[in-house]
Symmetry: none
DNA sequence: GTGGTCTAGACCACT
DNA sequence: GTGGTCTAGACCACG
């Protein structure tokens, strides 16, 4: 289920894009599944249809969905997408590590923090 | 020396803030050093003084500098700042790791990637 | 056999038209051959019959088939069609060459590329 | 100068994109030149500003321009762009040649037509 | 009913 | 004044 956070400074369409990307990457939405129609989703979220359409446009541009005029939007094959997403995440990490290194924070300190943090998160879930 | 990238989508004042934060955290600017005056820096970068003013306001708000009316802006004591910065970096990392985890990327995969990446960077520098 | 690519951004009826045009031009469908009935083809492709109807209408308008009320649709004489098709192809090429020329790409560069490309394709087929 | 053809079936924003791409590729607009502002151009062409903005968004996505918030849109470095454009043109040509080949039109026939056509165009210009 | 495009008009952040 | 985002409402092509 999609929820919009109006306190989030990011534009709404970007939030929608992110939510769907995760739904697709986690397999909650499988290949060739039908996306909710632009108008329907707009009503559900009480958002303007144009905003949803912009989100779908972006999702199509990134290869997550494909559009069939007059029929709707559908989820693409997800195999390659997961690889791309991993690259994207890793790029973000690299950037942060670079700036961290500039400020004198070493690799070990970072990886230590992450593994500790992730342990904590895992235990929360279990 | 501060360089502005006009092709960067981030606002200019934010770029200025970031650059100074690094200069201070790395020790290039030490405690109680005088910051360049708003007007001087504006001229140097051929930027609107208001933009510099805004950057300095933000730096003061974050505790990196303090203002003395009629005398200028000065660098704060950096000891506490480094801790704050580390927290900030770690928060960013935590966020990314969370979304990565949601998409099925594990902690080990992430720490492995980072340690490998940082090795490559180190060897570049040496 | 007709195959529809739902991921293709072009409307379905246009895809159907194109497929039949090629079948006719290559001689796979000869003059006066009977076209599959609208309903049959619609069922086969699990498409709305209106879509097939529209494709046939377009094919008739372009002179590729003719309709006999109560009997069905039939392929026209193909001799003249091939000439028309060649004109069409050449027009498309001319358009592209014009825009290429505007951007400073010369005729020789284009013909060189094409002859090289076609060589590669030929060798693939053999 | 940009002119819009309302009889053209393509969307307006796409026409605007194409016009600017040519202006940039031909060097009529050089690197770091300022694009006309969204509102100004909208007024000049008596078009809605949103339509222009969409065109600029697309141009930015394709790497032809970059945006500086609050200052305007500017032309990117054009060196790599020309190569990309050539690739694009060649891809279109390859597609057409493929379908032509399927319909029994050979490579020689095509290159002959093009070289002849381009000769005619050249003589028109001179 | 579906998405694609366009218009009109508004508000915000940045300079 | 500049672009970025969003809303509201309209028309068209497609199925």
């Amino acid at each position: 289920m999609i929820v919009i956070d109006y306190k989030d400074s990011r534009p709404i369409y970007e939030q929608v894009v992110d939510k769907f990307r995760l739904l697709i990457l986690t397999g909650a939405l499988g290949a060739n599944d039908k996306m909710p129609s632009v108008r329907t989703l707009a009503m559900e979220l009480s958002i303007n249809p144009n905003t949803i359409q912009r989100a779908y446009m972006e999702l199509e541009r990134q290869g997550y969905i494909y559009t069939v005029k007059g029929r709707g939007n559908f989820v693409s094959d997800t195999n390659t997408l997961k690889g791309e997403y991993k690259k994207e995440i890793f790029n973000k990490l690299d950037e942060i590590c670079d700036t961290a290194a500039k400020a004198g924070i070493g690799a070990k300190e970072i990886t230590d923090h992450i593994s500790e943090y992730m342990k904590g998160e895992e235990s929360k879930r279990s």
